[in-house]
Symmetry: C2
Subunit: 454 residues, 2 copies
């Protein structure tokens, strides 16, 4: 193995295609259903919301989908991203484990989100769309789409969950600096927003509500389409540049991971890192542990039900089979805005059902403690979302120490915490509260699941 701590790739190693895990699965995931008919949706049903190239990618079965040169040209600004060996963390933990992390915080907006934002903006531009709508929670996705829209000359309207809009003016500032419009959700701009406000004038919003607003606006305007930052197959596929680069970088390091770790909100950064490795393991019939880590306060994978559900609160989307806490679920306040979605990517859910991945949940105080421990030795302050992956990594490294085994752990440091300093300040001030759902609470959240005979 190499002594290096940083593994960089030059532009010639930027992936030329996205990897599609569906092609290597032993069993295909269930189809997406029309909520009225209960029948699988076709491309035409999705055409009001997405450009055709994106729809085709959503249902693609090819192993690889070529990345357009226009997209690769933008990727080149920050990709390939570095992969690090966390030697100082290993030393601090006294572990024989070899810890690696892929660092996506070097992107223009500080997270993995631009990997798909750039692709989506490109395909929309190519098909003559002039405006994109989307939702954002903490703002990582909203700022990524604002950046990508700016590059390709698209207007971008971001419906931002009201509580984040008010509490995170800096992410909003970044969205506006890139030239996008930021609307606090629920808003008076949409029927969905007005309906919520009529019933709950003080609503602080949720991701599910913001999605309804963005989808409604896109569906109503000819020149406008909708863009989603996680959950869907094409989004997960766009993120596979992360894992493909990591494979080359670990070759440089003359090593190979035993364990892959990523945090999961909608599932895209975990998928981006792990899918290329999982596909290889499936093709070669090898063992590989992949751990999806989520907040105990929004435990879709660990406590949700695997069922058909809506993607939004206003029930404007098709039905997808996923691990869900119910489309009206509103998690308690906690500091990882990117991990507050009621459902999990259908493909990630399917993998868990097939027994191909593991999942676990942590409370926020324990993940912040892990993040600060990481920052003090490695020098990078992770986003609160990424702290979940850091915590699982540290736990696995400690297990390696206790068992006296030297395994290789690779985790995705999916973003930096520069826009999340208030969360760290609250953590140091002892102000963070933890919440874990009981089975009863989950059952209550799930009471309103749609009845679908599948």
């Amino acid at each position: 193995m190499s002594d290096q701590v940083k593994f960089v790739l030059d532009e010639s190693h930027l992936p030329e295609a996205w990897y599609n895990l569906v092609s290597d699965l032993p069993e295909q995931p269930p189809p997406v259903l029309h909520p009225g008919t209960g029948e699988p949706v076709g491309p035409d049903d999705l055409a009001p919301l997405f450009p055709m190239q994106i729809i085709l990618q959503e249902v693609a079965t090819d192993q690889y989908v070529p990345i357009p040169e226009e997209v690769r040209s933008v990727y080149r600004q920050w990709r390939p991203t570095p992969l690090y060996r966390a030697r100082r963390l290993e030393e601090a933990l006294g572990t024989p484990a070899r810890i690696y992390y892929k660092y996506e915080g070097v992107s223009p907006t500080g997270s993995h989100k631009p990997n798909t934002a750039v692709a989506q903006a490109f395909y929309n531009k190519q098909e003559g769309v002039s405006r994109l709508t989307t939702e954002t929670g903490a703002g990582q996705w909203g700022s990524a789409l604002a950046f990508a829209g700016g590059i390709f000359g698209l207007e971008v309207d971001v419906y931002m969950v009201k509580v984040s809009y008010e509490q995170k003016p800096y992410r909003r500032g970044l969205i506006e600096a890139f030239g996008a419009r930021c609307v606090p959700s629920p808003s008076q701009e949409t029927k969905s927003g007005r309906a919520i406000l009529a019933e709950h004038p003080d609503s602080t919003g949720s991701l599910g509500i913001a999605i309804s607003e963005a989808v409604e606006t896109a569906a109503m305007r000819e020149d406008t389409k909708y863009s989603l930052g996680s959950v869907l197959n094409h989004v997960l596929m766009h993120q596979t540049v992360i894992g493909q680069e990591a494979q080359l970088q670990l070759e440089q390091a003359d090593d190979y991971p035993d364990i892959l770790i990523g945090c999961t909100g909608g599932g895209s950064n975990f998928s981006g890192l792990s899918f290329p490795f999982l596909g290889k393991a499936l093709r070669e019939g090898k063992e590989l542990r992949a751990i999806a880590v989520e907040p105990a306060a929004c435990p879709s994978l660990t406590k949700g039900r695997y069922a058909f559900d809506f993607g939004d609160t206003g029930h404007l989307t098709p039905l997808v089979k996923m691990h869900t806490l119910g489309s009206t679920f509103v998690p308690p306040p906690f500091h990882a805005g990117g991990l507050r979605y009621h459902g999990m990517a259908p493909l990630v859910s399917h993998l868990q059902e097939l027994g191909l991945i593991e999942s676990r949940a942590y409370t926020q105080t324990e993940v912040f403690a892990a993040g600060v421990e990481f920052a003090r030795v490695e020098g990078i302050l992770p986003a609160p979302e990424a702290n979940h992956a850091v915590k699982a990594t540290i736990d696995e490294a400690i297990r390696c120490r206790e068992e006296g085994v030297s395994q290789a752990i690779l985790f995705n440091l999916c973003g930096h915490g520069h826009f999340d300093m208030q969360a760290y300040i609250d953590y140091f001030a002892g102000k963070l509260e933890d919440h874990e759902y009981s089975e009863d609470e989950v059952a209550m959240a799930l009471a309103g699941l749609p009845a679908v005979a599948v």
Copy 2:
């Protein structure tokens, strides 16, 4: 020339030595003087404040000073940093100029400051120091030293200008996340601080006052030394890794700069980029334009006097010959905390006297306009300090267009603006006020210069 937009170097190209411009100068800069005797200071005079290796570097005349392997090992985390060709900016400006920028925002704290913080922390640790004191304005330097102190196991006390301490809780949060102690200055902890508070109980502080507090604390404690983030020769030298890497990267690009541009507060990022190029131009007798860009609200190089002055408000430091606005000068509030120092690095001042560099000043609204223009096409939101360099670059590129000449411009994008979003929000809200000093105002600020017969 290459089509590439990003030029990366692998670890094998990390510089092995810092470059010392003094070795190539036609005339040596004036010595540093003892304020009591008016005689040049010797190493022993500085020993209470700095470790001996740093003092020797401060007066070094060798062309290169080897970088210790322990420092290079930490540098490797983010160095070599990328160099970009700003093709989208060129296109937006319709300029024949070739615009390149070196991006230091990929460092752990988002600016060039860790380049010297790591070196200073290492030498202090090596000589048995257990605690460092320093000052910080906006917090870029304070967070860099906090990071470096964490790596080498040193305690770090950061005296942070009170107005920034209160207005920039996120930079303070980062300093504390890295494990350092952050003290609002003026404080009750020092004689200098108490003296200011006795006279001005509501003082919001200044860099000059914070330096006095940090220097006083270091001078009084055996186990504690002082660390400065700019101005001094050794700091400028540590930053030359920037320019040395850029030289290799421009070789990759098959190009060479006609113009170098950097913003200047104390002078270190400008020096780090330009000194290796200036040295080569001096050795080869070639022309090269290097432009130092400063705020019109703190115009030390463009309007200050070249004179011996104190580095701090409390007059605890030696006297250095520099362009200065007077050690008691307090600039009006503006959003580039790193450019609010009353003086300029003696070496940069000396270069201006020798006619080897140019300088210019801009108001803050015009530099923010330039920064937003840059962000929308290049995708990176610069720190307010760096916006000064962006503005000068755009102006030079427009001149190239008007003159129909294709020159190569290289500027230092010394940091990102993630911790400065309030400034952008204020800019968009039309709340920024501009201030330009008249000759009379400058003369008044200079009234208290010390009388030194040199």
